[in-house]
Subunit: 270 residues, 2 copies
């Protein structure tokens, strides 16, 4: 497998890396097509924002160059980038200066069934709730035990799990963000308490704004979701999947979902 640590081919990481010991880092999962990283500016913007909030002193120009070089070698697939605060001694205090570590790993693009995009997917309502932690909300950090617990709740045909926060608000999928359409208004969860602010979510919000569509980023109750006209998931690997079923409710694939699918298709597949 193609893997670089700080720009050099590697297979392992130091046992003292704080990414392992504390989950002290961030990651990005980048679709690579025709040797180009897709949505790179959005991935970099999220990563830089995360590093700022965690006070990880990353050289983002160097990271951008490295992702481009890695994508050129990978050609087609998925480039996963992990940035950690680097090695540290025992104890939570950050090393000063910290020397962040960059890990890039390549893998084949996932072979999702075409039906996921065409007919949509069923959602599993996870019991595991997202804790409310404004200090980490929105970040794609390495503390992902909630997602591990949630993903292991179901073995059935459901492709994704729905995650709610501890107050029951609808937040996101285990691997994706969630949108709904109600009376032609596009809605997605406010992520100031928990959740991951996905790059495809940002892209869709940007596209909807450009089209002049009404958009609400707000709190969403579970019964509002169940009463929605359209529901869909998004992430940077597959673009948009309609949701066709959840908890005994069923939705057809709606017109706004189809329009957005057409618009973002080239962001992932082009």
């Amino acid at each position: 497998m193609l893997a670089w640590v700080d720009g050099l081919q590697a297979t392992g990481l130091s046992l003292n890396d704080r990414g392992l010991t504390y989950g002290d880092g961030l990651f990005e999962t980048i679709a690579v097509r025709n040797a180009e990283p897709r949505l790179l500016a959005r991935h970099l913007a999220r990563l830089e924002g995360g590093c700022r909030r965690l006070a990880i002193p990353l050289d983002s120009d160097e990271v951008a160059r490295e992702i481009r070089a890695f994508s050129a070698v990978l050609g087609h697939g998925v480039a996963k980038l992990i940035v950690t605060r680097g090695e540290g001694q025992r104890g939570y205090a950050a090393p000063r200066p910290a020397r962040p570590v960059r890990i890039l790993q390549g893998s084949a693009a996932a072979a999702y069934p075409a039906g996921h995009t065409q007919e949509g997917v069923a959602l599993f309502p996870c019991r595991t709730r997202l804790a409310e932690q404004p200090a980490l909300a929105g970040l794609k950090h390495l503390n992902r035990l909630e997602q591990v617990l949630a993903r292991n709740e179901w073995q059935g045909e459901e492709v994704e799990g729905l995650m709610r926060d501890c107050s029951g608000r609808v937040i996101e999928g285990v691997y994706s963000n969630l949108f709904l359409v109600r009376d032609e208004v596009l809605m997605t969860a406010d992520l100031s308490r928990c959740g991951v602010a996905g790059v495809m979510r940002a892209e869709l919000l940007h596209q909807a704004e450009g089209l002049g569509w009404p958009v609400q980023v707000c709190d969403i109750a579970y019964d509002e979701l169940l009463r929605a006209d359209e529901v869909f998931l998004c992430n940077s690997q597959y673009g948009i999947w309609p949701v066709r079923a959840l908890d005994g409710h069923h939705w057809p694939v709606g017109p706004l979902t189809r329009k957005l699918q057409a618009i973002v298709r080239d962001r992932v597949d082009g």
Copy 2:
């Protein structure tokens, strides 16, 4: 540095280890004195409980043997054990079967100033709050970004930081559990929503019960802490440190604190 991975001398870990990618694992920090791991039964009990809750299939007899063998080589110091769910492919779903990885690292015992034990330490009131997540509460898991953020809030003379939950309840120190004494009742926070259930905390609760002391494991408001007669911290490395100052309040070292210090001294130093 002495370090074993699955019982063999090693310096690195696979880039696909889920300890790195998701913080999908647990750890224990064990005091080693005279080639013996201290409070081993309590460390193992917590680890086993954590593995059960995270569905990590650990062979705990093997771990116990390994810790003893490692301690015999280390002689004196700190043995840090990390157990991860092992390697996985991309995605949160646990590999089936999972092959957990055991990492043991040795380091010198920390040289704490004697004054910390004798006169006590000052506490810094951290702004970073602990999120309420019952599914992970009590576990010493690898998702420790809250502690990283909290520890980096202060640079001053305070030796520890006080952590409260998002509702403002007093929970613990960044590296320790916290007790207070009020009208000769020993009190420590209920950890069913957040916090780490420390092995020294468990030992102290056990000792207090044996002595017939009244003990309350309960919710503690910040102003209850400030009005306490005695306050102290505990962990498995140093035993008990009195708290002498927090947020403009000052405490003398109290009689129950001294009694418990005498009782647990041989658990760490003997």
